[in-house]
Symmetry: C2
Subunit: 361 residues, 2 copies
């Protein structure tokens, strides 16, 4: 066991660092600004948040929820995909873009009504490759019953792109019982993760030719709206917050939750589901699996009283059969995420710093 005094010292040091307001020191964009972690947050704070401020954007959720009329609410979200390589075990940039936007809407408690797609194609990109990607989008869209309703295609000269980039935006309709948000999180809530972590990031990384590691890992890219539908319709407002831990992984997502809610989260390492092959690859490369991107997983913060029921609902879905309760919400230390490790220690989990795996989505 870690000594109490050591734990307190660790946390105080981390909190002290946090109190120094994030400053954008760089004068030019670096790859880290696209990591989804700390540098991305700093860029958003320093350049986007103030200039574009309005009540919708200020919430800093993945989807904006706007009141349509007295009885219905509409959610809007967007994501651009620049993943390299464009095809990887378990998916490709096309299905990834469809699933990603369906999931961003689902995390707001909204069922996707339709998607838009914007292509940036590089001069010289093989049309046969484009066909494969479009077919993959069509299949993902059909399987999820969410149509692609409008689109746009731009072409950039050779050397000004990388084959294909895809933006998907989507609109969704809020489920009537949904009452989700950072501000709904309460002390005592349970933290559930819907399955094994880190598969997507590791699968994409291993698909890069430069790495000579032989491991069988598939991306978890998948739509999560059916899990969300069941959670919200069966447990309604007892589901307090939903997030998909994509870029920056679970560590970044949980830190966003604690910093926005001004609460803390304590995790049990032994409860966190990670495949041995992912753990092993991460050890080999010096990566923390909790900072690796997932594309078919959600984190649910739920009222403790319904935690077992929520877990059962998630496990009843193919995408959620490895779901686990991995921790709980605590009153303090404010803003912090920490983990009781298997060897009896305590570790402060921070957001992703730097970008060990660029262009993962």
């Amino acid at each position: 066991m870690a000594k109490a005094s050591e734990v307190v010292a660790k946390i105080e040091k981390a909190q002290e660092a946090r109190r120094k307001r994030a400053v954008l020191r760089e004068s030019h964009i670096t790859m880290s600004h696209g990591s989804g972690g700390k540098a991305t947050h700093n860029l958003i704070d320093a350049v986007f948040a103030q200039a574009l401020s309005n009540p919708y954007l200020d919430r800093m959720e993945d989807s904006a929820v706007m009141s349509w009329d007295a009885s219905s609410k509409v959610a809007l979200t967007t994501d651009t995909y620049v993943v390299s390589p464009v095809t990887f075990p378990g998916g490709d940039i096309g299905s990834l873009a469809v699933h990603g936007t369906i999931n961003d809407l689902a995390m707001a408690g909204a069922m996707a009504l339709g998607l838009s797609v914007g292509f940036i194609l590089e001069e010289g990109f093989p049309i046969e490759d484009l066909r494969h990607i479009v077919t993959s989008m069509a299949e993902a869209s059909a399987r999820a019953h969410v149509p692609i309703v409008t689109g746009d295609t731009k072409v950039v000269p050779r050397g000004k792109g990388d084959g294909i980039y895809i933006n998907t935006a989507g609109i969704g309709r809020l489920l009537p019982g949904a009452s989700l948000g950072y501000d709904k999180i309460r002390v005592g809530d349970k933290v559930i993760v819907s399955g094994d972590l880190g598969d997507h990031g590791i699968a994409v990384m291993l698909a890069r030719e430069s790495l000579d590691i032989d491991a069988d890992v598939k991306s978890d890219s998948a739509p999560l709206h059916e899990i969300v539908y069941d959670l919200i319709t069966q447990l309604g407002p007892a589901i307090h917050c939903l997030k998909d831990p994509t870029r920056g992984g679970v560590a970044t997502t949980l830190n966003e939750l604690t910093q926005s809610s001004r609460l803390a989260i304590g995790l049990q390492e032994r409860a966190i589901p990670i495949k041995d092959v992912v753990k092993g690859t991460c050890e080999l490369l010096g990566l923390d699996p909790l900072t690796i991107a997932n594309e078919g997983k959600l984190i649910a913060i739920v009222d403790a009283q319904v935690a077992d029921e929520a877990l059962a609902i998630i496990r009843s879905h193919e995408q959620g059969y490895h779901a686990q309760i991995i921790g709980e919400v605590l009153p303090e230390p404010e803003g912090m995420v920490f983990m009781h490790t298997d060897i009896g220690g305590m570790r402060v989990l921070d957001m992703l710093v730097g970008d060990p795996l660029p262009r993962i989505c």
Copy 2:
């Protein structure tokens, strides 16, 4: 005057060419596939339309209109901006992206409720330049009273982008009186254009350093939703179709109208408003101003009985004071657009072929 037999021969030749179903002959993406003209249409037909087919997408309008509930309809649209250079007289990529998406919604008769923005930043892009562009988006968004409600930022390595690309998507609410579409166009309808043509494309082209032409042309980039609001609320279903002639210019847009409606459009060249400096620059470079992009103009196809009233409404707006009735809808020759020229001849106007001005938006 052109001889009747010559005119008939011209039209028959063009119709014959049209009947040959568009085939995608290229195996790789070329700059022409991004022109918005014929090559773009061929790519859409051959790769996107069939694979992604659904009743919304099949309409091939700039916005998809979906039924939200019995009483309200929601429009979704998307556009990616890859304009080079990113700043030009009259605007920049930021304001262009905001105006463009507001306008795509307006052309469906929808008032924008909120926009999403997706950035692709190239490693090394100056953060000061990003600040300028974001400020310009914020100003355009504030002036139009349309908030940017959600966003996403990706970074690509040096040499895999071109500084900055921006996607904007938007949702809008259909105006109750709007009844617009290719299928609403009727023989006898008047064709109105809201002002001088070709300003945007020529302004961007002249901003490129490689050209040493000194001409004072500003982009017309501007939001058009207030003009549309007045047209629809005052004239309702007498407004049959609205289009903004962006990539591919008026020639491409009118051909889309005639091919979809299976009617014809006859124009009077002398009525078409084009600034002398734009005309002159086009002559110098061998370009047709009717194929040049506009970013603050609309084409309205309106019932002949309200044409003068519609013209007066458009002219009452700053963006529309040079509006003109430039032609009318005819029963045949099916699918064709032609123009009675100033010198007494007749010219068949086709969609843009090739891409004389790549990356104009």
